[in-house]
């Protein structure tokens, strides 16, 4: 039993570590005056969420989080910063100001406080140990019960790529 308590304490420490990474990265991402630093904060936060996925024994989702978010989405955001910046800070140098930050408080505090309150009031019963399912089952699910969303997301991605090319493509001769 002492052994089990030790493992449980280690799990709590690991959770606190990853949650701290997520929150520090998130605060950096929303408060930094420079967009590149904000993107670095987002990447830190994404790595923290990948660690939380690992703690939840969803190792495939954790790997995909690093591949897709850290590898692809952050590079896209970096391209967006680099292709559009007119000044060194990317246009965020002045910050929201005191009034802007005050006005933003109800926008984010209201849903956050409401949801946390509901969460602690109706304490959902959850297990202590997460389930671990093999990756082969995930693949079987994609080709079995969940084929329709799998096919639909490929259509959505195709539409997004086609739309992006169409939007960003500059016709020669019009201008």
């Amino acid at each position: 039993m002492a052994h089990w308590n030790c493992i449980s304490a280690l799990g709590h420490i690991a959770f606190a570590f990853y949650a701290a990474i997520v929150l520090v990265g998130g605060v950096l991402a929303v408060s930094s005056r420079s967009l590149v630093r904000a993107m670095v904060g987002l990447v830190i936060s994404l790595f923290g969420v990948a660690g939380l996925y690992l703690l939840l024994m969803a190792e495939f989702v954790a790997l995909m989080q690093i591949l897709i978010y850290v590898g692809a989405v952050s590079v896209l955001i970096f391209f967006a910063i680099m292709l559009t910046r007119a000044s060194a800070d990317g246009g965020e140098g002045t910050g929201p100001g005191r009034r802007g930050a005050l006005r933003a408080i109800p926008a984010f505090l209201l849903p956050t406080v409401l949801l946390v309150h509901l969460l602690f009031r109706y304490r959902v019963a959850g297990a202590d140990i997460p389930k671990n399912i093999p990756v082969a089952d995930l693949g079987a699910g994609l080709l079995g019960s969940y084929t329709l969303p799998f096919e639909l997301i490929s259509v959505v991605l195709l539409a997004a790529i086609a739309g992006a090319v169409l939007l960003a493509f500059e016709k020669r001769g019009t201008n």
């Binding site: 967009l35 978010y69 246009g91 933003a104 297990a127």
Partner: protein, 102 residues
């Protein structure tokens, strides 16, 4: 206290941070960073709820993967829109495209 409450609290805090960025940022790229934070919170919430309750865990993990795919598609489109806006208005500030022309 069970672990699910902790995970959901982190997810809600990510949602709050993303909303704050969405409201206070002046540029479209800063707002995109806020949206990505919120989508991450959603994925974390889905996976935690599926892994720690008797729900089908495959459903939860595939749902999180679908959220990631949608986030990638959305980031692609936003990149294209930001390019168009910055080409037309000179910068990527959200103050530029304020009027719709129908």
């Amino acid at each position: 206290m069970n672990p699910l409450v902790y995970y959901q609290t982190v997810a809600v805090l990510l949602l709050g941070l993303g909303l704050y960025a969405l409201v206070t940022r002046r540029t479209l790229v800063g707002m995109l960073i806020g949206v990505e934070l919120m989508l991450n919170g959603a994925g974390l919430s889905i996976v935690a709820a599926a892994q720690l309750t008797p729900t089908d865990a495959i459903l939860g993990q595939l749902g999180a993967l679908l959220v990631m795919g949608l986030a990638a598609a959305e980031a692609t489109l936003v990149l294209a829109i930001v390019l168009v806006v910055s080409k037309r208005f000179g910068n990527a500030s959200a103050d530029g495209p304020r009027e719709l022309r129908g």
